[in-house]
Symmetry: C2
Subunit: 308 residues, 2 copies
Amino acid sequence: MYAIAIHGGAGALPKGGLSPERQREYRQSLSQALTAGQALLERAGNALDAVEAAVTALEDDPLFNAGRGAVLCEDGSVELDAAIMSGSDLRAGAVAGIRYIRNPIRLARRVMEKSPHVFLTGAGAEAFADVNGFERVPNEYFITPLRSQQLQALLRPASTSGPAAVAALDEPPLGTVGAVARDSHGRLAAATSTGGMTGKLRGRIGDSPVIGAGTYADDRSCAVSTTGHGEWFLRTVQAYDIAARLNYGGYLLADAVNDAIAHRLTRLGATGGLIAVNRDGEIVMRYNTPAMFRACVRRGEPATIEIE
Amino acid sequence: MYAIAIHGGAGALPKGGLSPERQREYRQSLSQALTAGQALLERAGNALDAVEAAVTALEDDPLFNAGRGAVLCEDGSVELDAAIMSGSDLRAGAVAGIRYIRNPIRLARRVMEKSPHVFLTGAGAEAFADVNGFERVPNEYFITPLRSQQLQALLRPASTSGPAAVAALDEPPLGTVGAVARDSHGRLAAATSTGGMTGKLRGRIGDSPVIGAGTYADDRSCAVSTTGHGEWFLRTVQAYDIAARLNYGGYLLADAVNDAIAHRLTRLGATGGLIAVNRDGEIVMRYNTPAMFRACVRRGEPATIEIE
Protein backbone atom coordinates (compact mmCIF):
# COMPACT_ATOMS: atom_id res chain seq x y z
CA MET A 1 0.00 0.00 0.00
CA TYR A 2 1.43 3.37 -1.02
CA ALA A 3 -0.07 6.84 -0.67
CA ILE A 4 0.97 10.27 -1.87
CA ALA A 5 -0.55 13.72 -1.45
CA ILE A 6 0.61 17.06 -2.83
CA HIS A 7 -0.40 20.67 -2.36
CA GLY A 8 0.07 23.80 -4.42
CA GLY A 9 -0.61 26.25 -1.62
CA ALA A 10 -3.52 27.51 0.49
CA GLY A 11 -4.98 31.00 0.38
CA ALA A 12 -7.52 33.22 -1.31
CA LEU A 13 -8.51 32.93 -4.96
CA PRO A 14 -8.77 36.02 -7.19
CA LYS A 15 -12.12 37.88 -6.99
CA GLY A 16 -14.70 35.91 -8.93
CA GLY A 17 -12.64 32.76 -8.66
CA LEU A 18 -10.46 31.12 -11.26
CA SER A 19 -11.56 30.99 -14.88
CA PRO A 20 -12.42 27.51 -16.21
CA GLU A 21 -9.25 27.57 -18.36
CA ARG A 22 -7.10 28.47 -15.38
CA GLN A 23 -8.74 25.74 -13.32
CA ARG A 24 -7.93 23.25 -16.06
CA GLU A 25 -4.31 24.39 -16.07
CA TYR A 26 -3.97 23.98 -12.33
CA ARG A 27 -5.67 20.59 -12.34
CA GLN A 28 -3.46 19.38 -15.15
CA SER A 29 -0.33 20.59 -13.43
CA LEU A 30 -1.31 19.01 -10.10
CA SER A 31 -2.14 15.79 -11.93
CA GLN A 32 1.27 15.70 -13.61
CA ALA A 33 3.13 16.30 -10.36
CA LEU A 34 1.09 13.66 -8.58
CA THR A 35 1.78 11.20 -11.35
CA ALA A 36 5.51 11.94 -11.22
CA GLY A 37 5.55 10.85 -7.59
CA GLN A 38 3.07 8.01 -8.00
CA ALA A 39 5.00 6.42 -10.86
CA LEU A 40 7.94 5.87 -8.53
CA LEU A 41 5.77 4.47 -5.75
CA GLU A 42 4.03 2.15 -8.21
CA ARG A 43 7.44 0.63 -9.00
CA ALA A 44 8.04 0.09 -5.26
CA GLY A 45 10.26 3.19 -5.17
CA ASN A 46 10.87 5.04 -1.96
CA ALA A 47 8.82 7.83 -0.45
CA LEU A 48 11.77 10.22 -0.51
CA ASP A 49 12.18 9.95 -4.29
CA ALA A 50 8.44 10.31 -4.75
CA VAL A 51 8.10 13.57 -2.80
CA GLU A 52 11.20 14.96 -4.49
CA ALA A 53 9.82 14.13 -7.94
CA ALA A 54 6.43 15.67 -7.22
CA VAL A 55 7.90 18.86 -5.76
CA THR A 56 10.42 19.18 -8.60
CA ALA A 57 7.55 19.09 -11.10
CA LEU A 58 5.72 21.82 -9.18
CA GLU A 59 8.89 23.92 -8.90
CA ASP A 60 9.34 23.75 -12.67
CA ASP A 61 5.75 24.88 -13.29
CA PRO A 62 5.38 28.68 -13.31
CA LEU A 63 1.80 28.40 -11.98
CA PHE A 64 3.08 27.78 -8.46
CA ASN A 65 5.03 29.89 -5.98
CA ALA A 66 8.15 27.73 -5.97
CA GLY A 67 11.08 27.49 -8.37
CA ARG A 68 10.18 29.16 -11.67
CA GLY A 69 7.18 31.45 -11.13
CA ALA A 70 7.97 32.13 -7.48
CA VAL A 71 6.83 35.43 -5.98
CA LEU A 72 9.27 38.34 -5.80
CA CYS A 73 11.05 39.93 -2.86
CA GLU A 74 10.61 43.66 -2.31
CA ASP A 75 13.72 44.31 -4.43
CA GLY A 76 12.23 42.41 -7.38
CA SER A 77 14.49 39.36 -7.13
CA VAL A 78 13.59 35.79 -6.21
CA GLU A 79 14.76 33.90 -3.10
CA LEU A 80 13.72 30.30 -2.71
CA ASP A 81 13.41 27.98 0.30
CA ALA A 82 12.91 24.22 0.46
CA ALA A 83 13.16 21.28 2.84
CA ILE A 84 12.93 17.51 2.64
CA MET A 85 12.82 14.89 5.38
CA SER A 86 13.10 11.11 5.51
CA GLY A 87 10.92 9.53 8.18
CA SER A 88 12.88 6.27 8.42
CA ASP A 89 16.01 7.79 9.89
CA LEU A 90 14.98 11.39 10.64
CA ARG A 91 17.48 12.68 8.12
CA ALA A 92 16.60 16.13 6.83
CA GLY A 93 17.94 18.77 4.47
CA ALA A 94 16.87 22.36 4.05
CA VAL A 95 17.96 25.42 2.09
CA ALA A 96 16.86 29.06 2.22
CA GLY A 97 17.63 32.24 0.31
CA ILE A 98 18.48 30.31 -2.88
CA ARG A 99 18.87 32.60 -5.90
CA TYR A 100 20.63 30.59 -8.59
CA ILE A 101 19.68 26.91 -8.29
CA ARG A 102 16.84 25.68 -10.49
CA ASN A 103 15.37 23.11 -8.10
CA PRO A 104 15.83 24.03 -4.44
CA ILE A 105 14.25 20.74 -3.34
CA ARG A 106 17.04 18.82 -5.05
CA LEU A 107 19.61 20.96 -3.31
CA ALA A 108 17.87 20.34 0.02
CA ARG A 109 18.12 16.61 -0.57
CA ARG A 110 21.80 16.93 -1.44
CA VAL A 111 22.39 18.84 1.81
CA MET A 112 20.69 15.95 3.61
CA GLU A 113 22.76 13.29 1.88
CA LYS A 114 26.14 14.88 1.23
CA SER A 115 26.77 17.39 3.99
CA PRO A 116 27.04 17.01 7.75
CA HIS A 117 24.50 19.81 8.01
CA VAL A 118 20.73 20.05 7.90
CA PHE A 119 20.16 23.70 7.01
CA LEU A 120 22.24 25.83 4.63
CA THR A 121 21.35 29.32 3.48
CA GLY A 122 22.25 31.90 0.86
CA ALA A 123 25.67 32.06 -0.71
CA GLY A 124 26.94 29.25 1.53
CA ALA A 125 24.22 26.92 0.27
CA GLU A 126 25.02 27.86 -3.32
CA ALA A 127 28.74 27.32 -2.80
CA PHE A 128 27.80 23.83 -1.57
CA ALA A 129 25.67 23.45 -4.72
CA ASP A 130 28.63 24.42 -6.93
CA VAL A 131 30.87 21.82 -5.33
CA ASN A 132 28.14 19.22 -5.77
CA GLY A 133 27.71 19.74 -9.49
CA PHE A 134 24.54 21.83 -9.56
CA GLU A 135 24.33 24.20 -12.52
CA ARG A 136 23.54 27.82 -11.82
CA VAL A 137 20.71 29.62 -13.57
CA PRO A 138 20.34 33.41 -13.60
CA ASN A 139 17.88 34.78 -11.05
CA GLU A 140 15.79 36.01 -14.02
CA TYR A 141 15.05 32.37 -14.89
CA PHE A 142 12.59 32.30 -11.98
CA ILE A 143 10.82 35.59 -12.74
CA THR A 144 7.53 35.58 -14.67
CA PRO A 145 5.50 38.58 -15.89
CA LEU A 146 2.63 37.68 -13.51
CA ARG A 147 4.86 37.84 -10.44
CA SER A 148 6.36 41.16 -11.55
CA GLN A 149 2.83 42.55 -11.88
CA GLN A 150 1.89 41.24 -8.43
CA LEU A 151 4.88 42.97 -6.86
CA GLN A 152 4.08 46.21 -8.70
CA ALA A 153 0.50 46.05 -7.47
CA LEU A 154 1.71 45.51 -3.93
CA LEU A 155 4.17 48.39 -4.01
CA ARG A 156 1.94 50.84 -5.89
CA PRO A 157 -0.08 52.34 -3.00
CA ALA A 158 3.00 53.48 -1.11
CA SER A 159 6.38 54.77 -2.21
CA THR A 160 9.19 52.26 -2.62
CA SER A 161 9.43 51.83 1.15
CA GLY A 162 8.11 48.89 3.11
CA PRO A 163 4.74 49.67 4.76
CA ALA A 164 2.51 48.56 1.88
CA ALA A 165 4.48 45.38 1.48
CA VAL A 166 4.35 44.77 5.19
CA ALA A 167 0.60 45.32 5.41
CA ALA A 168 -0.02 42.99 2.50
CA LEU A 169 1.89 40.20 4.20
CA ASP A 170 -1.26 39.36 6.13
CA GLU A 171 -2.66 37.97 2.91
CA PRO A 172 -1.09 34.60 2.32
CA PRO A 173 -0.27 33.87 -1.30
CA LEU A 174 -1.53 30.75 -2.97
CA GLY A 175 1.27 28.67 -4.33
CA THR A 176 3.78 27.16 -1.89
CA VAL A 177 4.13 23.53 -2.89
CA GLY A 178 4.63 20.34 -0.96
CA ALA A 179 4.29 16.59 -0.95
CA VAL A 180 4.00 13.78 1.58
CA ALA A 181 4.22 10.08 0.84
CA ARG A 182 4.15 6.63 2.34
CA ASP A 183 5.81 3.98 0.21
CA SER A 184 5.01 0.27 0.03
CA HIS A 185 7.72 -0.46 2.61
CA GLY A 186 6.10 1.86 5.16
CA ARG A 187 8.66 4.65 4.78
CA LEU A 188 7.37 8.20 5.09
CA ALA A 189 8.77 11.40 3.59
CA ALA A 190 7.81 15.07 3.30
CA ALA A 191 9.00 17.91 1.07
CA THR A 192 8.09 21.59 0.79
CA SER A 193 9.28 24.38 -1.52
CA THR A 194 8.38 28.03 -1.76
CA GLY A 195 9.27 31.53 -2.89
CA GLY A 196 7.80 32.93 0.33
CA MET A 197 5.55 35.98 0.29
CA THR A 198 5.28 38.71 -2.35
CA GLY A 199 7.26 41.76 -1.27
CA LYS A 200 9.08 39.96 1.55
CA LEU A 201 12.32 41.35 2.90
CA ARG A 202 15.33 39.56 1.46
CA GLY A 203 16.59 37.10 4.05
CA ARG A 204 13.14 36.42 5.49
CA ILE A 205 12.60 32.74 6.21
CA GLY A 206 9.10 31.34 6.58
CA ASP A 207 8.00 27.94 7.77
CA SER A 208 8.57 25.92 4.59
CA PRO A 209 12.30 25.15 5.01
CA VAL A 210 12.14 24.86 8.79
CA ILE A 211 12.11 21.24 9.94
CA GLY A 212 9.24 20.94 12.41
CA ALA A 213 7.38 24.03 11.20
CA GLY A 214 6.69 23.51 7.48
CA THR A 215 8.09 20.04 6.91
CA TYR A 216 8.39 16.93 9.07
CA ALA A 217 8.41 13.15 8.67
CA ASP A 218 8.77 10.26 11.11
CA ASP A 219 7.84 6.69 10.18
CA ARG A 220 6.47 6.20 13.69
CA SER A 221 3.80 8.86 13.25
CA CYS A 222 3.30 10.84 10.03
CA ALA A 223 4.70 13.07 7.31
CA VAL A 224 3.47 16.67 7.04
CA SER A 225 3.86 19.60 4.62
CA THR A 226 2.24 22.94 5.43
CA THR A 227 1.29 26.08 3.50
CA GLY A 228 -0.05 29.45 4.58
CA HIS A 229 1.04 32.36 6.74
CA GLY A 230 4.52 31.07 7.49
CA GLU A 231 5.15 33.16 10.58
CA TRP A 232 2.27 31.46 12.38
CA PHE A 233 3.38 28.01 11.36
CA LEU A 234 6.85 28.83 12.71
CA ARG A 235 5.44 29.96 16.06
CA THR A 236 3.22 26.89 16.43
CA VAL A 237 5.88 24.44 15.12
CA GLN A 238 2.98 23.12 13.12
CA ALA A 239 4.32 20.11 11.24
CA TYR A 240 5.94 18.57 14.31
CA ASP A 241 2.88 19.46 16.38
CA ILE A 242 0.83 17.00 14.29
CA ALA A 243 3.42 14.24 14.76
CA ALA A 244 3.62 14.96 18.50
CA ARG A 245 -0.16 14.74 18.88
CA LEU A 246 0.00 11.26 17.34
CA ASN A 247 3.10 10.19 19.25
CA TYR A 248 2.32 11.50 22.71
CA GLY A 249 -1.42 12.24 22.69
CA GLY A 250 -2.70 9.13 20.93
CA TYR A 251 -4.62 11.27 18.45
CA LEU A 252 -5.92 9.85 15.19
CA LEU A 253 -4.41 11.73 12.25
CA ALA A 254 -7.71 13.32 11.20
CA ASP A 255 -8.38 14.55 14.75
CA ALA A 256 -4.85 15.90 15.14
CA VAL A 257 -5.04 17.86 11.88
CA ASN A 258 -8.56 19.02 12.59
CA ASP A 259 -7.68 20.30 16.05
CA ALA A 260 -4.54 22.00 14.75
CA ILE A 261 -6.07 23.71 11.72
CA ALA A 262 -9.76 24.16 12.43
CA HIS A 263 -9.37 24.97 16.11
CA ARG A 264 -5.94 26.13 17.24
CA LEU A 265 -4.71 28.01 14.15
CA THR A 266 -8.09 29.54 13.43
CA ARG A 267 -8.40 30.70 17.04
CA LEU A 268 -4.96 32.29 16.81
CA GLY A 269 -6.02 34.15 13.69
CA ALA A 270 -3.66 32.21 11.45
CA THR A 271 -4.52 31.07 7.95
CA GLY A 272 -3.24 28.15 5.94
CA GLY A 273 -3.46 24.43 5.55
CA LEU A 274 -1.50 21.22 5.50
CA ILE A 275 -1.33 17.77 4.04
CA ALA A 276 -0.37 14.70 6.04
CA VAL A 277 -0.02 10.96 5.62
CA ASN A 278 0.35 8.51 8.50
CA ARG A 279 2.13 5.16 8.69
CA ASP A 280 -1.02 3.35 7.58
CA GLY A 281 -1.18 5.41 4.41
CA GLU A 282 -4.16 7.45 5.57
CA ILE A 283 -4.18 10.93 3.96
CA VAL A 284 -5.59 14.09 5.54
CA MET A 285 -5.66 17.51 3.82
CA ARG A 286 -7.13 20.48 5.73
CA TYR A 287 -7.13 24.28 5.43
CA ASN A 288 -9.00 27.27 6.85
CA THR A 289 -8.50 29.45 3.75
CA PRO A 290 -10.96 29.80 0.85
CA ALA A 291 -8.91 27.35 -1.22
CA MET A 292 -6.04 24.89 -1.21
CA PHE A 293 -4.71 23.34 -4.39
CA ARG A 294 -4.28 19.65 -3.61
CA ALA A 295 -4.24 16.16 -5.02
CA CYS A 296 -3.74 12.67 -3.69
CA VAL A 297 -3.81 9.03 -4.65
CA ARG A 298 -3.43 5.69 -2.89
CA ARG A 299 -2.58 2.37 -4.48
CA GLY A 300 -5.56 0.92 -6.32
CA GLU A 301 -7.73 3.98 -5.77
CA PRO A 302 -8.58 6.82 -8.18
CA ALA A 303 -6.67 10.09 -7.79
CA THR A 304 -8.49 13.14 -6.47
CA ILE A 305 -7.56 16.66 -7.60
CA GLU A 306 -9.21 19.60 -5.88
CA ILE A 307 -8.91 23.38 -5.86
CA GLU A 308 -11.55 24.66 -3.43
CA MET B 1 7.58 32.85 42.50
CA TYR B 2 10.14 33.43 39.75
CA ALA B 3 12.75 31.10 38.32
CA ILE B 4 15.58 31.51 35.83
CA ALA B 5 18.15 29.12 34.41
CA ILE B 6 20.99 29.78 31.99
CA HIS B 7 23.48 27.64 30.10
CA GLY B 8 26.84 28.32 28.52
CA GLY B 9 26.90 25.26 26.31
CA ALA B 10 27.27 21.48 26.60
CA GLY B 11 30.22 19.47 25.30
CA ALA B 12 33.63 18.13 26.15
CA LEU B 13 36.14 19.91 28.36
CA PRO B 14 39.81 20.22 27.33
CA LYS B 15 42.00 17.21 28.23
CA GLY B 16 42.72 17.31 31.94
CA GLY B 17 39.72 19.51 32.56
CA LEU B 18 39.63 23.24 33.18
CA SER B 19 42.25 24.88 35.35
CA PRO B 20 41.01 26.25 38.68
CA GLU B 21 41.48 29.81 37.39
CA ARG B 22 39.46 29.06 34.27
CA GLN B 23 36.76 27.44 36.36
CA ARG B 24 36.60 30.56 38.49
CA GLU B 25 36.25 32.72 35.39
CA TYR B 26 33.41 30.64 34.02
CA ARG B 27 31.63 30.53 37.37
CA GLN B 28 31.94 34.27 37.77
CA SER B 29 30.67 34.91 34.27
CA LEU B 30 27.70 32.58 34.71
CA SER B 31 26.94 34.21 38.04
CA GLN B 32 26.94 37.68 36.51
CA ALA B 33 24.65 36.66 33.66
CA LEU B 34 22.27 34.91 36.06
CA THR B 35 22.19 37.98 38.27
CA ALA B 36 21.46 40.23 35.29
CA GLY B 37 18.32 38.23 34.61
CA GLN B 38 17.40 37.67 38.26
CA ALA B 39 17.60 41.37 39.10
CA LEU B 40 14.77 42.04 36.66
CA LEU B 41 12.64 39.17 37.96
CA GLU B 42 13.21 40.31 41.55
CA ARG B 43 11.63 43.65 40.61
CA ALA B 44 8.62 41.77 39.15
CA GLY B 45 10.01 42.29 35.65
CA ASN B 46 8.98 40.05 32.82
CA ALA B 47 10.53 36.77 31.76
CA LEU B 48 11.30 38.09 28.28
CA ASP B 49 13.47 40.93 29.62
CA ALA B 50 15.19 38.53 32.01
CA VAL B 51 16.26 36.00 29.35
CA GLU B 52 17.35 38.82 27.05
CA ALA B 53 19.48 40.38 29.79
CA ALA B 54 21.11 37.08 30.73
CA VAL B 55 21.91 36.15 27.14
CA THR B 56 23.19 39.64 26.34
CA ALA B 57 25.66 39.32 29.23
CA LEU B 58 26.85 35.95 27.91
CA GLU B 59 27.13 37.30 24.35
CA ASP B 60 29.35 40.12 25.59
CA ASP B 61 31.64 37.70 27.44
CA PRO B 62 34.38 36.26 25.20
CA LEU B 63 34.43 33.01 27.22
CA PHE B 64 31.30 31.79 25.46
CA ASN B 65 30.51 30.87 21.87
CA ALA B 66 28.06 33.69 21.25
CA GLY B 67 28.55 37.36 20.39
CA ARG B 68 32.15 38.36 21.13
CA GLY B 69 34.29 35.23 21.38
CA ALA B 70 32.12 33.17 19.05
CA VAL B 71 33.77 30.37 17.06
CA LEU B 72 34.90 31.03 13.50
CA CYS B 73 33.51 29.83 10.18
CA GLU B 74 35.85 28.01 7.81
CA ASP B 75 36.72 31.34 6.15
CA GLY B 76 37.80 32.83 9.49
CA SER B 77 34.86 35.17 9.92
CA VAL B 78 32.07 35.07 12.49
CA GLU B 79 28.38 34.44 11.80
CA LEU B 80 25.94 34.59 14.69
CA ASP B 81 22.49 33.14 15.27
CA ALA B 82 19.94 33.87 18.00
CA ALA B 83 16.29 33.41 18.87
CA ILE B 84 13.88 34.55 21.56
CA MET B 85 10.31 33.50 22.32
CA SER B 86 7.56 34.79 24.56
CA GLY B 87 5.38 32.03 26.03
CA SER B 88 2.38 34.26 26.77
CA ASP B 89 1.48 34.97 23.17
CA LEU B 90 3.78 32.66 21.21
CA ARG B 91 5.57 35.61 19.67
CA ALA B 92 9.06 34.78 18.48
CA GLY B 93 12.00 36.42 16.76
CA ALA B 94 15.09 34.83 15.27
CA VAL B 95 18.14 35.90 13.29
CA ALA B 96 20.89 33.93 11.58
CA GLY B 97 24.09 34.71 9.72
CA ILE B 98 24.60 37.99 11.62
CA ARG B 99 28.04 39.51 11.01
CA TYR B 100 27.87 43.11 12.19
CA ILE B 101 25.44 43.39 15.10
CA ARG B 102 26.91 43.27 18.60
CA ASN B 103 24.03 41.50 20.34
CA PRO B 104 22.12 39.14 18.05
CA ILE B 105 19.63 38.37 20.83
CA ARG B 106 18.56 42.01 20.91
CA LEU B 107 18.10 41.98 17.17
CA ALA B 108 16.02 38.78 17.46
CA ARG B 109 13.78 40.52 19.96
CA ARG B 110 13.42 43.52 17.66
CA VAL B 111 12.42 41.20 14.80
CA MET B 112 9.77 39.76 17.12
CA GLU B 113 8.43 43.14 18.17
CA LYS B 114 8.91 45.40 15.16
CA SER B 115 8.64 43.25 12.07
CA PRO B 116 5.80 41.10 10.72
CA HIS B 117 8.36 38.30 10.44
CA VAL B 118 9.77 35.69 12.80
CA PHE B 119 13.03 34.73 11.12
CA LEU B 120 15.42 37.06 9.26
CA THR B 121 18.85 36.11 7.99
CA GLY B 122 22.05 37.64 6.71
CA ALA B 123 22.13 40.98 4.94
CA GLY B 124 18.33 41.25 5.12
CA ALA B 125 18.41 40.93 8.90
CA GLU B 126 21.17 43.55 9.11
CA ALA B 127 19.29 45.94 6.84
CA PHE B 128 16.39 45.58 9.28
CA ALA B 129 18.85 46.29 12.11
CA ASP B 130 20.06 49.47 10.37
CA VAL B 131 16.52 50.77 9.99
CA ASN B 132 15.88 49.99 13.66
CA GLY B 133 18.80 51.96 15.00
CA PHE B 134 21.27 49.17 15.73
CA GLU B 135 24.90 50.21 15.44
CA ARG B 136 27.18 48.07 13.32
CA VAL B 137 30.45 46.72 14.65
CA PRO B 138 33.19 45.30 12.42
CA ASN B 139 33.23 41.50 12.16
CA GLU B 140 36.65 41.62 13.85
CA TYR B 141 34.96 42.81 17.06
CA PHE B 142 33.76 39.24 17.61
CA ILE B 143 37.08 37.49 16.88
CA THR B 144 39.34 36.48 19.77
CA PRO B 145 42.85 34.92 19.60
CA LEU B 146 41.56 31.68 21.16
CA ARG B 147 38.96 31.17 18.45
CA SER B 148 41.50 31.88 15.71
CA GLN B 149 43.77 29.23 17.23
CA GLN B 150 40.90 26.74 17.40
CA LEU B 151 40.12 27.24 13.73
CA GLN B 152 43.82 26.88 12.82
CA ALA B 153 44.01 23.64 14.81
CA LEU B 154 40.94 22.35 13.04
CA LEU B 155 42.21 23.19 9.56
CA ARG B 156 45.82 22.12 10.14
CA PRO B 157 45.59 18.36 9.41
CA ALA B 158 44.18 18.89 5.92
CA SER B 159 44.76 21.51 3.28
CA THR B 160 42.41 24.49 3.19
CA SER B 161 39.58 22.28 1.91
CA GLY B 162 36.68 21.05 3.96
CA PRO B 163 37.18 17.41 5.08
CA ALA B 164 38.96 18.15 8.36
CA ALA B 165 36.41 20.76 9.28
CA VAL B 166 33.63 18.40 8.36
CA ALA B 167 35.04 15.53 10.43
CA ALA B 168 35.54 17.76 13.42
CA LEU B 169 31.91 18.82 13.35
CA ASP B 170 31.04 15.65 15.22
CA GLU B 171 32.64 17.23 18.26
CA PRO B 172 30.21 19.72 19.69
CA PRO B 173 31.78 22.90 20.97
CA LEU B 174 31.15 24.10 24.48
CA GLY B 175 29.75 27.56 24.52
CA THR B 176 26.35 28.18 22.94
CA VAL B 177 24.40 30.21 25.47
CA GLY B 178 20.78 30.29 26.50
CA ALA B 179 18.29 31.23 29.18
CA VAL B 180 14.79 30.25 30.25
CA ALA B 181 12.67 32.04 32.81
CA ARG B 182 9.32 32.10 34.54
CA ASP B 183 8.39 35.46 36.01
CA SER B 184 6.22 36.19 39.04
CA HIS B 185 3.19 36.60 36.75
CA GLY B 186 3.59 33.09 35.34
CA ARG B 187 4.97 34.24 31.99
CA LEU B 188 7.61 32.03 30.38
CA ALA B 189 10.36 32.97 27.93
CA ALA B 190 13.36 31.35 26.26
CA ALA B 191 16.41 32.75 24.46
CA THR B 192 19.42 31.15 22.75
CA SER B 193 22.47 32.61 21.02
CA THR B 194 25.44 31.00 19.29
CA GLY B 195 28.29 31.26 16.85
CA GLY B 196 27.62 27.70 15.70
CA MET B 197 30.44 25.22 15.19
CA THR B 198 34.13 25.91 14.57
CA GLY B 199 34.90 25.62 10.87
CA LYS B 200 31.25 25.59 9.80
CA LEU B 201 30.32 26.52 6.25
CA ARG B 202 29.10 30.08 6.00
CA GLY B 203 25.32 30.04 5.81
CA ARG B 204 24.97 26.93 7.97
CA ILE B 205 22.13 27.24 10.45
CA GLY B 206 22.02 25.02 13.52
CA ASP B 207 19.22 24.55 16.02
CA SER B 208 19.74 27.65 18.18
CA PRO B 209 17.80 30.19 16.07
CA VAL B 210 15.15 27.71 14.96
CA ILE B 211 11.92 28.06 16.91
CA GLY B 212 10.98 24.57 18.06
CA ALA B 213 14.48 23.11 17.71
CA GLY B 214 16.78 25.21 19.90
CA THR B 215 14.33 27.64 21.46
CA TYR B 216 10.68 27.41 22.50
CA ALA B 217 8.33 28.86 25.10
CA ASP B 218 4.63 28.42 25.84
CA ASP B 219 3.07 29.50 29.14
CA ARG B 220 0.85 26.41 29.04
CA SER B 221 3.80 24.04 29.20
CA CYS B 222 7.44 25.17 29.45
CA ALA B 223 10.33 27.22 28.10
CA VAL B 224 13.36 25.42 26.64
CA SER B 225 16.83 26.36 25.37
CA THR B 226 19.11 23.67 23.95
CA THR B 227 22.82 23.29 23.24
CA GLY B 228 24.86 20.61 21.52
CA HIS B 229 25.11 19.04 18.10
CA GLY B 230 22.65 21.35 16.36
CA GLU B 231 21.87 19.12 13.42
CA TRP B 232 20.41 16.49 15.73
CA PHE B 233 18.35 19.00 17.66
CA LEU B 234 16.96 20.26 14.34
CA ARG B 235 15.99 16.75 13.26
CA THR B 236 14.31 15.94 16.57
CA VAL B 237 12.65 19.38 16.93
CA GLN B 238 13.96 19.10 20.46
CA ALA B 239 12.69 22.21 22.25
CA TYR B 240 9.12 21.78 21.04
CA ASP B 241 9.33 18.05 21.69
CA ILE B 242 9.64 18.77 25.42
CA ALA B 243 6.64 21.11 25.36
CA ALA B 244 4.60 18.59 23.35
CA ARG B 245 5.39 15.80 25.82
CA LEU B 246 3.95 18.01 28.58
CA ASN B 247 0.99 19.23 26.53
CA TYR B 248 -0.12 16.03 24.87
CA GLY B 249 1.53 13.23 26.87
CA GLY B 250 0.96 14.47 30.40
CA TYR B 251 4.65 14.09 31.18
CA LEU B 252 6.23 15.75 34.19
CA LEU B 253 8.97 18.14 33.08
CA ALA B 254 11.78 16.04 34.59
CA ASP B 255 10.51 12.88 32.89
CA ALA B 256 10.09 14.64 29.54
CA VAL B 257 13.63 16.02 29.61
CA ASN B 258 15.07 12.78 30.90
CA ASP B 259 13.39 10.72 28.18
CA ALA B 260 14.43 13.20 25.50
CA ILE B 261 18.08 13.59 26.51
CA ALA B 262 19.06 10.44 28.38
CA HIS B 263 17.08 8.06 26.20
CA ARG B 264 16.08 9.32 22.78
CA LEU B 265 19.02 11.59 21.90
CA THR B 266 21.59 9.26 23.39
CA ARG B 267 20.13 6.32 21.48
CA LEU B 268 20.29 8.36 18.26
CA GLY B 269 23.97 9.07 18.91
CA ALA B 270 23.36 12.77 19.48
CA THR B 271 25.14 14.82 22.11
CA GLY B 272 24.05 17.92 23.94
CA GLY B 273 21.83 19.20 26.66
CA LEU B 274 19.04 21.58 27.50
CA ILE B 275 17.58 23.73 30.21
CA ALA B 276 13.85 24.05 30.83
CA VAL B 277 11.45 25.72 33.21
CA ASN B 278 7.76 24.88 33.48
CA ARG B 279 4.78 27.02 34.43
CA ASP B 280 5.22 26.15 38.11
CA GLY B 281 8.80 27.45 38.06
CA GLU B 282 10.36 24.00 38.24
CA ILE B 283 13.80 23.95 36.57
CA VAL B 284 15.38 20.95 34.84
CA MET B 285 18.89 20.96 33.31
CA ARG B 286 20.11 17.77 31.59
CA TYR B 287 22.94 16.79 29.22
CA ASN B 288 24.63 13.65 27.95
CA THR B 289 28.02 15.31 27.37
CA PRO B 290 30.93 15.43 29.84
CA ALA B 291 29.97 18.94 30.89
CA MET B 292 27.38 21.68 30.61
CA PHE B 293 27.98 25.17 31.97
CA ARG B 294 24.81 26.09 33.79
CA ALA B 295 23.32 28.13 36.58
CA CYS B 296 19.88 28.70 38.04
CA VAL B 297 18.03 30.42 40.82
CA ARG B 298 14.48 30.57 42.11
CA ARG B 299 12.96 33.23 44.33
CA GLY B 300 14.10 32.84 47.91
CA GLU B 301 16.52 30.02 47.11
CA PRO B 302 20.30 30.12 46.72
CA ALA B 303 21.71 30.16 43.17
CA THR B 304 23.52 27.09 41.88
CA ILE B 305 26.38 27.38 39.39
CA GLU B 306 27.78 24.19 37.90
CA ILE B 307 30.27 23.20 35.22
CA GLU B 308 30.38 19.40 35.20
